[in-house]
Structure formats: C-alpha cells, structure tokens
C-alpha cells in the first residue's frame, strides 16, 4: 500500500510540472503587450520600459520560465498587476467563498444523488425510475448559468424568497449551491443507479435474499456497500465539473470566489493572477483525484496495487 501511495504521488509530480508549463506558455501567447496594459494609456514609453523590466518581461522566454518555476517552488505566484498585491494573497482571500460553495454543493450532490440513484435502481422500470433518470439527463444537459438565472427570476425576482446575489446573507447561499450542485447530482445519481443495478444482479445478493435476510438489510449491508465503490470515483470526477461550474455560478450570483477572480483577471489582463488561479485549480483537481484513487485502493480490498 505504501509503495502504491508513493508511486501515485511521484507520477503526479510531472503532471503538475506539465500543467505549470502549459499555463506559462498560454499566458505568453496573450495578444498585446502586457507591460503596456499594466502601465495604462497615459504611460510614456519610458514608463512601459520600466514596467517591462520590473516584471521581467524584457528577459528571454527561457529565463522567464526558469524564474517562474523557481518562484513556484517557493510558493511565490507573483504580484497582481491590477492591485499590486501578491497573487497568493488575492487567491487566499477569495478561496473560502469558493470552498464553502464547493463543499455544500458536493454534500447536496452526494446525499441526494446516491439516495435517488439507489431508489431508481431498486424500483427499476417504474415511473419513479423514469422520473429520476430523466432528471439526471436533464441535469447533465442544463447550462449551469441558465439554471442560476432561472432560479433568480423565479425565486428572487418574482417571489423574493432569496437574495439574487452576494454572499453576505446566509440565505444567499441557497441558490448558488443548488445551482452548482445539479450537474454533479445528476452525475452521481446516474452512476449510483447503474452501480446498484450491477450489484443487485450479483450472486451474493441473491444468496442473502434466499437465506431470508430482509430486503432492507440486503440493500444497505450488501448491495449499497459494494455499489459505493464506483460512486467514489465519480465524486472525484465531479469535482472537476464543480470547479468549472463554480466559475460560471460565481459570475451569475456575483459570488466573491476564485472563479469570479479568474474571469475578472482575464478581462483586465492581470496575467499573474490568471496564471495563479488556473494553476491552483488544476493542482487541487490533481490532488483530489489522487486522494480518490488512494481511497479507492483503501476501501476495496479486492484491488491490490503493486
């Protein structure tokens, strides 16, 4: 097990470097001269040169790259060109808002998703199953920003039940987290349904029923425990959808998280922040998938990684 953990961690290191390199190259593709953007429209050519030098933009690309990687290793993501604050500070001041949203949405998605997925599987072929399966495919097809705006129109504008934007009010939490949860919920429901169906067909379930164990016990003790394994994988995968969705959801609800920060920074060409946020989100995605893999190996004794 320990060697497996060590190997998995080692394999993800080149991936992190690859991601950092891709982001570095992407940001350098940006049309226009970042130094000119930072300096503003009223700047003299000398000002622009000074800023170019200050941010190291006059160096050859490989020197910039080496400096960038060296800084990354010390946890330095650079300085925001818009606010002059360190990028890490910008990110950490916004991160709690995104984390809250992501955690609440994941809890909604997993609890509701597993429940209705199992329900659909045990009532296979009934109206309830059809209803849940349709809800799942609807959830997977719905543009998250559109869902958010529809909720705002109905629940915030028409009946004033919830605030339309902002993170001050605890009630303000409801609409963004429900919006963000729907896609993941659909994904988890679908996966739980098919995993459960597969397990219900297995011999040990039939044996348990045959020896007279009540249906409830068989479902919870035998079937669900085995069906949860593939669901664990999906929870890792949905985290990616959740992060992507957060960028859109935060824009819809004017939520002060890292997603909004990213979009705002793209518009103001604040490329150290763009670079930092994308890197941070990608690395956390790699990390979550690593955790899921390890969890999977831990909970499933049949899998022996060598």
């Amino acid at each position: 097990m320990l060697t497996y953990i060590a190997r998995r961690v080692l394999v993800s290191i080149p991936t992190v470097f690859g991601v950092a390199t891709v982001i570095f190259l992407l940001v350098r593709l940006l049309p226009g001269d970042p130094a000119r953007v930072i300096a503003g429209v009223l700047a003299t050519p000398e000002d622009v040169d000074r800023i170019r030098h200050q941010f190291g933009l006059d160096q050859p690309l490989y020197v910039q790259y080496v400096t960038y990687i060296a800084h990354l290793l010390t946890g330095d993501l650079g300085i925001s060109t818009r606010t002059g604050e360190p990028v890490t500070q910008e990110i950490f001041s916004r991160l709690p808002y995104t984390m809250e949203l992501a955690v609440v949405s994941t809890v909604i998605a997993v609890t509701v998703g597993v429940t209705i997925g199992v329900l659909a599987a045990t009532r296979r072929g009934t109206v309830l199953d059809l209803l849940i399966s349709s809800l799942a495919v609807f959830g997977l097809s719905m543009p998250v920003y559109w869902l958010g705006l529809m909720l705002i129109i109905v629940l915030a504008i028409d009946i004033h039940a919830f605030p339309a934007a902002g993170a001050q009010d605890p009630l303000g939490f409801v609409l963004p987290s429900v919006t963000l949860a729907l896609f993941s919920l659909a994904l988890v429901a679908r996966q739980s349904r098919s995993a459960m169906l597969e397990v219900l067909n297995q011999d040990f379930v039939r044996t348990a029923r045959a020896k007279g164990a009540p249906l409830r016990t068989v479902l919870v003790k035998h079937a669900l425990r085995n069906a949860l394994l593939p669901v664990v994988t999906v929870i890792g995968l949905q985290f990616g959808a959740l992060i992507g969705g957060a960028v859109l959801t935060e824009t819809v609800f004017s939520w002060p998280g890292v997603g909004r920060l990213l979009v705002d920074s793209i518009f103001s060409r604040d490329y150290p922040v763009v670079q930092g946020v994308v890197l941070m989100l990608a690395v956390s995605f790699i990390f979550v998938n690593l955790l899921v893999d390890l969890l999977y190996a831990y909970v499933d004794p049949r899998i022996r990684y060598s």
Partner: protein
C-alpha cells in the same frame, strides 16, 4: 472456367463479401434498437428541428438578424416580431434561428478537431506502447488536469476571443477523452490474432492502424463523439456567457444570454429563450448518445 462460374460456384470466394453483408445487418440492428428507445427518438426529433432551423435560417430571415433598430428595443411579441426584440431592437426569434447555425457549426468543428487529433494519437499510443505511449499519456494527463471548462477558458484567455478561437479552444479540450478511448481499444486489439497475422504478412503499421485498429474502436468513438457534441456546445456557450466566447453581433446563444443578464428585470424572456435553446441542443445530443451506447454496447443493460 468462365468468370461467371467463379462468381457463383466458388463458395470460398463468395465468403469474401460476407463481412460486408454482416456490416449491413449490424447497422440495421443498431438502427432498429435505437428506434425502440423513446428517449433517443425524442433526441433525434429535437436535432432534426435544430438542423432544420439552421438550414432554413436564410429562408425565414432574408435580412441580417444583427440589424438593429434602436427604437424597437424590448418590444413584446407581435406579428412583426414573433418573440419580441432585445435591448438593441433586434428580432429575438431571428437571432435564435441564426444561433442554431453557429451552435451546430461550432459544435461539429470542435468535435472534429478533437477526433482529428485524438484518434491518431490514441491509436498510436495504444498500438505502439513504449515511449510513444508514455509521451502521449503524460500529455493527456496534463490536458485532463484542467477541470471542466477551465482548459477552454485558459486557451481563450491566451488565444483571444471570437468564433475561430472558441472552436480551437473547445476542440483542444475535446482531444484527451478521445485519446483515452481509442488507446483502450487499441491496447486490446493489438493482441488479437488477426492483427498478428497482418503483421506477419508484412502489412505496414500505419495500414494496420488504419484498417484494423481504428475501425474496431469505432463504436465507443461514435457514442463519445455524440455526447461530446453536447459537451462542446455547453462549454462554448459558457464562454459566450462569460463574454469570452463568440462576440457581438454574432447571434450565439451563450453570448446572447450573457448580454441579456443585464436586462433580467426588464425582459426575462431574453434570458429564458437562449438558455432553453442551449439546453435543448445539449439534451438532444445526450439522449441520442445514450441511445447509441445502449444500442452499440450490449453489455450495458
């Protein structure tokens, strides 16, 4: 012996045409299975409507939908403007109809890019193994590390906005899934006796890839490509919504929705309709994709 006799009398030669006949019936079987799935048929019907609208766009709207008359802004539905007008006095119905063209065009091209790069890389990676596989897989890992819409977002941030760059960005984010898919089938196909036989006969690798490996991974690729069309449309519209996608005055649903957000208190239908259009398109591709999966893969269900 005459040629005709060869044609009819030799059973061994007749057999050469057998796989062709088999392929015909397989296609028929898949279609009849697909036809029995009500959800796939609903999806196909929605798709037909969209394609019809996209093709008929210039017929129902002989003039440019981007054409704006400021005094006509926020008109309610009427005989002249079937669904009313938007903030610039543009006809909402015509904008939506033209949007179908851009959405389908964008989706198909993006997935085409994904296929064009993903299939050969995936096939080569699985078939050759070794350092080719290692290289391609690390590249795939990197692309897959960008969660959700983030890769397309980062690419657009680098390349700049606009229709062409959105297609490229969404296309690149569709590559890794096809690599993984084709690699998995190539891995199993390369061990099969007929591939070994082809290699023993001296058939060059590229021909084996083209004639044996790719066709045999076609079923999952078709399913995934259909589902990916939905995903590509969703991502492209998301970029448009953020203002980082297709730009004004192109009537793209995502950007229409993004612009209409400002007027959510004035005219909610400007927000509702483009979103509904996106939802319908994505739903249709998802339903057809699911139907195809059930029809092509008998192991599921």
């Amino acid at each position: 012996m005459s040629i005709r006799a060869l044609d009819t009398a030799e059973p061994g030669l007749r057999d050469l045409t057998a796989p062709e006949v088999g392929a015909e019936t397989a296609r028929g079987r898949i279609w009849s299975k697909l036809r029995r799935s009500p959800s796939a048929m609903v999806g196909l019907a929605i798709l037909c409507v969209y394609v019809g609208l996209a093709l008929a766009g210039p017929l129902v709207a002989p003039f440019d939908p981007g054409h704006d008359i400021l005094r006509d802004q926020f008109l309610t539905p009427s005989v002249h403007h079937f669904l009313g007008t938007d903030d610039l006095g543009r006809d909402e119905f015509l904008m939506l109809v033209y949007g179908a063209r851009y959405t389908l065009y964008l989706g198909f091209l993006a997935v085409a890019i994904g296929l064009a790069v993903g299939l050969p890389l995936g096939a080569a990676s699985g078939y050759f193994g070794g350092w080719v596989d290692l290289l391609v897989q690390r590249f795939t890992d990197v692309l897959l590390s960008f969660p959700g819409i983030l890769l397309a977002l980062a690419l657009v941030a680098g390349l700049g906005v606009g229709l062409r760059n959105v297609i490229i960005a969404v296309g690149i984010s569709s590559i890794p899934i096809f690599i993984r898919l084709v690699r998995a089938s190539a891995l199993s196909i390369r061990e099969l006796p007929y591939v070994e036989a082809a290699r023993a006969l001296g058939v060059p690798n590229w021909l084996i890839l083209l004639r044996h490996v790719l066709p045999n991974s076609l079923a999952p690729v078709i399913v995934q490509a259909t589902l990916q069309l939905g995903a590509a449309i969703l991502v492209a519209a998301g970029l448009g919504f953020l203002g980082l996608g297709v730009q004004k005055p192109t009537p793209e649903w995502g950007s229409m929705l993004g612009e209409a957000r400002t007027y959510i208190f004035t005219d909610a239908s400007l927000v509702t309709l483009p979103g509904l259009a996106i939802f319908g398109a994505v739903l249709a591709f998802n339903l057809v994709g699911d139907g195809l999966r059930d029809a092509l893969d008998p192991r599921l269900k």
